[in-house]
Symmetry: C2
Subunit: 339 residues, 2 copies
């Protein structure tokens, strides 16, 4: 009799404890007593989001990938990185189509070419896979958002920085990469701003630096040979700035020109530090990755503007998230090495 | 036999307790079995974010407030709404300063005036309170982001829609509200696009509709009296479009002009439906509220771009989240009544 009472008490204890465990689980599962959702924005580790780049090994993508990973860690989802190793649209289309075939939870793509990828991007939409573009967009592709620099505005900022350093007078040249949309927009913003705001400045040449240091150095040397009186350069791309910088190092002062570069790779930062490049524009690369994943997560989970599914309705996601630019000079260059 | 049962019960108790310890440890470490954080983006119900408007009773803010609330529900935080009841900068400054004194987790403000609020906005920064602007910005205010329409681009879209309907030829007028930054930008985008892309179109007047239907109707009637040959109007604001529409209703065809309105209040939608207004531009209002709160949450919780704390560093949040615009005509007007 006593033993069975003891057993009953033990049993009751165990039961109470199990009840407590169950309760504890409930309390932490994301519902409060009022039945309101309160578990936050959280996904499933089975949910995989893929980032697709080109020239996938360059350092430029590192902070972008870090932002994508950091967002995934916060949201408890998985990520994968794929990309064309070369600067080759055909290779990037192949990689993108392989990724679509795996039906991931969402895809973030940086477009090597503003038109050639549109068909492949359309396939993601048909397969119901959320897709956003980052860094370099593709107009009319049907992607649900573009997360990156306002490249037109970046060109305008470069024009104003160059004009300020030249007191609004002189001749300048641009070295760019004309087949990529972001570079076209930077050039256009630069040209329009010079034309509109600085009547004392004129652009004597816009050359193709082919995205490499060597071709850009050669282009810069050729331009200086044709226009020895030139006062400044704007490079819409990191290698362009370093190429111009190498050409400038050969010229002796006072022949040296003002150089505005782009991005914050080590080569560019070293030249900002030693004064070969006067200023460079840093992009919000970590934010490109972070906010791309956040956008894809919202599309995947349907946390979007009401009625967006319907034809003719509004944009489900903000169609453009401007990650900003920062002017980097000798004054703040040290801050950009660590990143 | 009974002793072994007792042993079994003891064993069960011990096991339960170990289970508890394991569970407790895991759940409170913010790590899942793989050592990754997995609790998602989630706040605390004690955390209160405040939205500050002006003309706080108008319907326009409803979807914006709904987006702010929906984001709060997802993130498990609280919201509050404050605002100047009138169209009065002094009243809005007073309200904003009262909100700052309460030290909320974050503040989203729509600026009635692009300069007058800057000092009060600066006080939030000094008090360490994250602040973003939405709908109508304030340049140079130091707010960490602007979430809203690219108003310059909206003006360009209106110009192209009007030009398309006039086959690129004729004279047009604008009715706007020149003291608010978003309206200035819409007017500028409209003017620049006409000047750049449509040499056959000219703008004969830009008038102040004072944000009311009555003043806008009067302005439209006066303009038509001075320019009876006028071909079209662009209103940068909802009441402006309705005012022009009322003036047009008095004119008999073929004297009626093409009218491009703004926003999707019931008055405007009814006039789009009956053909008095030819097209209106819908803004991503729900997204303004939703993404404002998401931005504030990221600032409050320090989930921002690395090194953003340091002077001269990059933008912690994307400095501009473009919530997009949609062209609303008779074809899709029904979709916008429900929202």
């Amino acid at each position: 009799m006593k033993k069975s009472l003891l057993l009953f008490v033990y049993g009751l204890l165990t039961l109470s404890f199990l009840l407590f465990l169950w309760q504890y689980g409930i309390r932490n599962s994301g519902e409060d007593g009022l039945g309101k959702p309160s578990d936050g924005l959280v996904g499933d580790v089975e949910e995989q989001y893929v980032m697709v780049t080109f020239q996938s090994n360059i350092d430029y993508w590192r902070p972008v990938m870090k932002g994508f990973e950091d967002a995934a860690a916060k949201l408890n989802v998985a990520v994968d990185f794929r990309g064309a190793t070369q600067y080759d649209p055909i290779e990037q289309i192949t990689v993108l189509e392989q990724v679509i075939a795996r039906k991931p939870a969402g895809i973030a793509v940086t477009a090597i070419d503003p038109e050639k990828l549109n068909e492949a991007i359309g396939k993601a939409a048909k397969a119901g896979i959320p897709l956003v573009l980052f860094d370099s967009g593709a107009e009319g592709s049907g992607a649900q958002s573009f997360v990156g620099t306002d490249n037109y505005r970046a060109g305008a900022v470069a024009a104003r920085e160059l004009a300020r350093r030249l007191s609004g007078r002189g001749t300048v040249a641009v070295i760019t990469q004309p087949n990529q949309l972001n570079h076209r927009q930077r050039t256009e913003g630069f040209q329009d701003t010079i034309a509109k705001e600085f009547p004392g400045l004129s652009i004597v040449e816009v050359a193709d630096g082919k995205g490499t240091i060597d071709a850009s150095r050669q282009a810069a040397e050729d331009i200086v040979a044709r226009h020895p009186e030139l006062d400044g350069f704007f490079a819409t791309q990191a290698n362009g700035g370093v190429g111009i910088g190498q050409a400038m190092k050969k010229l002796k002062l006072p022949s040296r020109k003002i150089v505005i570069g782009f991005d914050t790779d080590k080569g560019t930062l070293d030249m900002v530090k030693d004064g070969t490049i006067d200023a460079t524009l840093a992009q919000g690369t970590w934010n490109m990755g972070y906010w791309s994943l956040l956008g894809l997560f919202h599309l995947r989970h349907g946390i979007v503007q009401p009625s967006s599914e319907e034809k003719g309705g509004v944009h489900p996601l903000p169609p453009f998230i401007d990650t900003g630019i920062t002017n980097v000079t000798q004054d703040n260059v040290e801050l950009f090495y660590a990143r």
